[in-house]
């Protein structure tokens, strides 16, 4: 896993905590997005999902998925040699 600093320009706010976490480390595209979509169906609107991934391109795909579905991308941070991405489930999202 590697990422330039500017890939993390959408940083998750400090102290942000997730209601649910899924670990997709080691899984290749597009499985992490498929798992994210499945997880979002199980949580309530307003809840925050944390997705852990070691795939640097998910920093492009996840915001795109959020723009397409209407969920809110809150940003990402790096920890334990993985990316931690945060998504807030929107009321009446398209998916």
């Amino acid at each position: 896993m590697s990422a330039d600093q500017d890939e993390l320009r959408e940083r998750a706010p400090a102290g942000l905590r997730a209601d649910t976490t899924i670990d997709t480390v080691g899984l290749c595209c597009p499985v992490p997005i498929i798992r994210t979509a499945e997880a979002m169906k199980r949580i309530a609107a307003g809840s925050v999902l944390e997705v852990i991934s070691d795939d640097r391109v998910i920093l492009i795909d996840m915001p795109a998925w959020c723009r397409s579905t209407g969920h809110r991308y809150l940003g990402a941070r790096r920890a334990d040699d993985a990316f931690h991405l945060f998504v807030k489930k929107a009321e009446g999202a398209r998916s």
Partner: protein, 350 residues
């Protein structure tokens, strides 16, 4: 557009993220239709493979998921579906055969449109659309093929191709007034000029290069390996992992029962390491070396040959003898071999 009941019309479309499918979706969004995109992950996408290798310095935009990018640009939801084992079975046994390479384009379209129809039945929707363009691709986009695909999918009249609509009979969505046919297009052929003009008109600038091709099944080198695999393996026993390995490294067939894969760089070495436990693997010792994987059960002379080939691609290729480790499970052999001559390699190369 609304149905007679006043509810909004919903279209389910196949979205690869290429220019054509993006424009087809946009043409319907322009008419006020709710659009849901289905993006199939087939396991044969070159972007996904670049991503799995993640070579240093690779531009992440070349590895992004174009279906998601299109969904974001168009503000339409994208459902990413894993095509799975059923897709692999179709690829290995296409009812309508292969194109010039290993591309079963007609069966692939039928598979995906079936999938979209299943999604529509489960989640609701009024019709299916695709970005197909009449006459653009020799195997799957001539008039006869377009009609065949629609018929075999069992959705006759409910499959709209917005980009070529004026060349095709009116569909039910057009006849029922859900879609304004006059606002659809009459594009045909291989030129992308009209698509480029439309993308300019609609402000769509960030899309993959038109006709660049991102499917391994249409790639000449991959196709040689694919057909070699089919020729030497009972087709019904071929697994997804074997297809993944066809994308990586240099491939040499040493006998009907033994084939090897030699990594080309550090990223491929790392990638192949995941599969090293499946059989024999080879590596030159104390030097830069490719990882070589063997498929089949090489006997002792064949293991020496594989070691020689591995030595040829190691950093000690100019040495008279190279020490190579051959490993299988807990077994390890040390072989001292001369690097094989380049002239001998070509007869085995797939």
């Amino acid at each position: 557009m609304t149905a007679e009941t006043g509810r909004r019309i919903k279209a389910i479309g196949l979205i690869s993220g290429g220019l054509d499918s993006t424009l087809a979706a946009r043409a319907l969004v322009e008419q006020g239709i709710d659009v849901v995109g289905i993006h199939f992950s087939t396991g044969f996408c070159m972007n996904d493979h670049r991503r799995a290798l993640d070579r240093p310095g690779e531009d992440p935009r070349r590895m992004r998921n174009e279906g998601l990018r299109a969904g974001a640009d168009l503000q339409i939801p994208i459902e990413v579906l894993d095509a799975g084992e059923a897709y692999l079975k179709m690829v290995l046994n296409p009812r309508h055969g292969y194109g010039k390479r290993a591309n079963p384009c007609i069966d692939c379209r039928i598979y995906m449109i079936h999938g979209a129809a299943d999604y529509m039945r489960e989640h609701g929707g009024d019709f299916i659309f695709t970005g197909e363009v009449l006459g653009q691709r020799p195997m799957s986009q001539h008039m006869q093929a377009l009609c065949l695909i629609e018929k075999e999918c069992g959705i006759e009249g409910y499959l709209l191709r917005p980009l070529s609509a004026h060349h095709l009979p009116p569909t039910k969505p057009e006849e029922l007034g859900w879609v304004d046919r006059s606002r659809l297009m009459g594009i045909s052929g291989r030129s992308r000029k009209e698509q480029m003009a439309l993308s300019e008109q609609w402000g769509l600038k960030d899309y993959p290069q038109p006709s660049g091709g991102c499917c391994f099944l249409a790639d000449e080198s991959f196709a040689r390996r694919f057909h070699d695999k089919r020729d030497h393996t009972p087709v019904d026993s071929i697994k997804r992992e074997e297809m993944i390995l066809l994308k990586v490294g240099r491939h040499f067939r040493l006998s009907p029962a033994v084939k090897i894969i030699v990594a080309r760089d550090a990223s491929e070495n790392q990638f192949l390491t995941r599969f090293a436990g499946l059989g024999w693997s080879f590596e030159a010792l104390d030097t830069g070396s490719p990882l070589t994987l063997a498929e089949g059960e090489p006997d002792e002379p064949t293991r020496r040959l594989i070691a020689s080939i591995t030595a040829r691609y190691s950093d000690r290729r100019n040495q008279p003898l190279v020490e190579v480790a051959a490993r299988r499970g807990d077994t390890e052999e040390r072989l001292f071999v001369p690097p094989v001559a380049d002239s001998a390699l070509e007869g085995w190369r797939i």
